[in-house]
């Protein structure tokens, strides 16, 4: 499923909404999560999962093509942890 499939499903389930509003709703949800992570906040969506930002230290890397050593600066990386309910559902339906 892609973002546009999600918009289509939301629109089909809510025929009273304008398509441009449905698009705005979907965009807002992901933009709010992105903004929260940009601020360094955590996003906890019960039953689905939690997004957080983790710090990575600077390290000595290597260009895999040339073998040259390069300095990789410290950075923040987004992280997602699946919620318990969704994790359980994934494994129930696999049986």
């Amino acid at each position: 499923m892609t973002k546009s499939d999600l918009v289509k499903r939301l629109a089909a389930a809510n025929p009273h909404l304008y398509l441009r509003d449905v698009e705005k709703i979907v965009a807002t949800v992901f933009e709010e999560i992105s903004l929260a992570l940009t601020r360094g906040d955590r996003v906890e969506l019960r039953g689905f999962g939690a997004f957080s930002v983790r710090a990575r230290d600077a390290r000595q890397g290597r260009n895999p093509r040339t073998g040259d050593e390069v300095e990789v600066p410290d950075k923040q990386v987004p992280h997602f942890k699946t919620g318990k309910e969704l994790r359980d559902r994934l494994n129930q339906e696999a049986d």
Partner: protein, 101 residues
């Protein structure tokens, strides 16, 4: 820096501010989006949100684990796990390297 926790209620509030719907309906729409994503992951195993990231279901094989307290070997059964890969755009934004769309 990481002080606040954003929840479903915050997302619903943002939808409410952005679109002229009631708070109740805004909350229902946020729930619907997350439920559709979950259903799609349970079905075809993949959700791709451009400029945000991709959620994928991965099958993990059985492996031998160890109870860290007792040192006892225990089999970890095959299971399905969900992984999220953030888009390059989101990674860049988090590191302050790009502006929002």
């Amino acid at each position: 820096m990481a002080g606040l926790t954003v929840t479903r209620a915050h997302l619903a509030e943002a939808v409410y501010q952005e679109v002229g719907l009631s708070r109740t309906e805004s909350a229902q729409l946020v729930d619907f989006i997350l439920e559709e994503m979950a259903n799609s992951l349970l079905g075809d195993g993949m959700v791709k949100i451009s400029s945000f990231g991709t959620f994928m279901v991965r099958e993990k094989g059985e492996r031998v684990g160890r109870n860290p307290k007792t040192g006892e070997e225990v089999p970890i059964l095959p299971r399905r796990v969900l992984v999220f890969r953030a888009s390059q755009m989101l990674k860049d934004r988090i590191n302050g390297e790009a502006s929002p769309p």
